[in-house]
Symmetry: none
Subunit: 229 residues, 4 copies
DNA sequence: GATGAATGAGGATTCATTCAT
DNA sequence: CATGAATGAATCCTCATTCAT
């Protein structure tokens, strides 16, 4: 596979076939499992398929995860990286207008999470949540609440700074979240929107933010009708 | 069940075996199946459970639906009533402002579809669509496209009448759809939003419409800040 | 069956559709069942199919036959008409050479039994006998033994009259029976002989008899080499 | 579990769970399946029974054969060893009289095929052929036609060498085949002949051949009346 | 009698899980 | 550690049989 490496890694050199990063196994399995769970659902995903996609044998999966259910939970946990602290800090340091902040917030989410496999977790929670109440609770605590809180902070900041009107924050947050859900489902679900229509996420976000802002803005009409039309 | 029988036979009353209900059976089965498919997913729903919920035995389900897959498809078809023509006529006759029309449109949808079991179909399409490409296509043609077209008409009317700015219609439609999806998922999925928070759909719709309108309105600030906050 | 009746039966006349010979029902069912059992085997034949072929509903079959197994047995019994007494008498009265008698015997069998649906019974006994030991015993007693006895009588007559050599009668009978079995299987079984080759039963019988006779004849070569090819 | 035990544990001996026998399994299953299919028919044979007879569990059968139907086909294929080339060579090298050759031919068939489980295949083709048209075609091509061709060659040789009269070869072949069928059915079917009568196959063959030859012989009466009587 | 809706035991098939190698 | 043969519980589906109408 790395045929041009002149001074290849000794480990790879001596046992190049079998010894393929033992410590990487669980990760490879989780990647394979996430893909399959998202694509086919929990029940329709066979353990052997997960193994095959990760390049190992069936038994090996059970070496790392005691059951299919635990594999599922591990997939969810693994992909829920609480990056909210990091993002919180990032946004707290932000100096510009709250409108930009909101836009930036959603765009950042899309490029770091939404557009990646990680967003499949949300699809999984929507599809399979009912079978895993404990993992849904975990997801709520680790993803939904911090996410909502972050969005709420951004909106609150806008209100506090007089940029936004004092809207009902719960509903306003839901509006942002709905847009993100829409993006996730258009990526992971055949029924998200019109079958063949392809959606440009960045344009969608820009548009949603623009529409939102102009409604939120205490001021007048806006300066950028281009985005809106 | 035998309401006119004054002295009804207890045996018949408690366990009316072999009650002939050929007309009613398919409907009862479809109701039971819709509930279970939405709640537990396609794979996790056992045919016997569907039968039990409909008050019949295992074999009876297969009397009306040749397979689990066909039962699923029938569930989807049954609950996709193309009421769009009717609604189209209703909205074409509408005389008032487009803002009210949009609000009415979403509210009507919620009370006639969204809040009923029928909205479970959308949840099913999201969760199980990948296994039923043909039924997804059917759903796209019968629900998604007509629905989008109806919303688009309302928005177009607003633009034509000078009530709304000439926004990008695709994105604007997606904005409305995203709100409806959000409502559906908050009803049918544990992961829709914060676990225990309960959402008032009418208030949510009112708020979303208000936010939207204020962005769509070509005019000035609005008269009703109450709804927004 | 009553083709000459000029004034047809009033019942048939007044209610020609529904009232189709109640007393004929069992017979029609047995005909349908025989065909299907022979064609598809006992297990693969569905009661509903039998009913459909007889033009009645499923439940009606059980009105006449308490179970599938009893239907099978009835089919066998019905088609085992001990015509051996009749034939015995016929052959006892025969005056000509035993060679003709043997030939006539096989030809008669073919045209009265072998070529009709009745021969399907033998196919059934071969295919399904193991599940119905009692009915096989019945078949042995009612068909096989009398049949063998009849053939044996013919051969014995030939020996007694000096026409045939004193061969081992058991084996000689088996030789005749094997030829009849061959005809039955070529009629009722796809695997009887070369798939597409069609067999002329009369020619086959003539030939078998000729070969047999020329071996059985105590005398010299024969006069009719034409039949032999 | 105790692999090094020199004096093996009786329990392990009697019920050696999870014995790895990947090589041997398919063969063992096919043997078990052939027996059961012949004995009880396709439909009446349960997969679990096949498994039990082969000493494995239900699931294991499906490890090697994807379905009951495929198991059946494999059983047929497995037992259709085209030994005809080998036999062809054997008979081509034969130097003696064609009468001996024919006798030897049938005896050889009996001892190598007819008397073994393999002959059950023919019983299966007769009983179940209608459900497996493709496998019947295979059987016709691989067994029936080569078999017929081999017999025809023997007979042709006799004719060419002036030993036999120029009989119709098709019918003559059928005569031989009928005898073989008779033997197969007397072995595999309760209805083959008189229930309790036991048939000595070698004597039967000897007799059939003798009868046949004396009809085929261009010459005079025969020297060996013993066999015939 | 006739019907056909309803039943439920029976059997094929799947696949998570185990464990000897 | 890794493998993959073996297991058997779980579930879909069939169809003989019953029985209310």
């Amino acid at each position: 596979m790395p045929p041009s490496k002149p001074f290849s890694d000794p480990a790879t050199c001596l046992a190049p076939k079998r010894e393929r990063r033992k410590e990487a196994r669980p990760g490879e399995l989780l990647v394979a499992a996430l893909e399959l769970f998202v694509e086919k659902g929990f029940a329709a995903t066979r353990m052997e398929e997960v193994a095959a996609r990760a390049g190992v044998s069936k038994g090996t999966v059970f070496l790392y995860f005691p059951s299919k259910e635990e594999l599922f939970k591990a997939v969810v946990r693994e992909n829920i990286s609480g990056r909210f602290e990091e993002w919180n800090a990032e946004f707290l340091a932000y100096e510009g207008p709250s409108s930009d902040m909101l836009h930036h917030c959603m765009t950042t989410w899309w490029h770091r999470i939404g557009s990646t496999q990680a967003s499949g977790i949300s699809k999984l929670m929507i599809s399979e949540g009912s079978h895993f109440p404990d993992i849904v609770e975990f997801y709520q605590n680790e993803v939904v609440q911090p996410g909502h809180a972050l969005i709420r902070q951004v909106l609150q900041r806008g209100i506090d700074r007089g940029e936004f009107r004092a809207v009902n924050l719960d509903f306003a947050v839901y509006g942002v979240v709905a847009a993100m859900m829409f993006l996730i489902l258009s990526k992971h679900s055949a029924a998200g929107l019109q079958g063949n229509a392809s959606l440009d996420p960045d344009a969608y976000i820009a548009n949603q933010v623009a529409v939102m802002l102009h409604g939120l803005y205490a001021k007048k009409p806006l300066a950028d009708p281009v985005v809106l039309g």
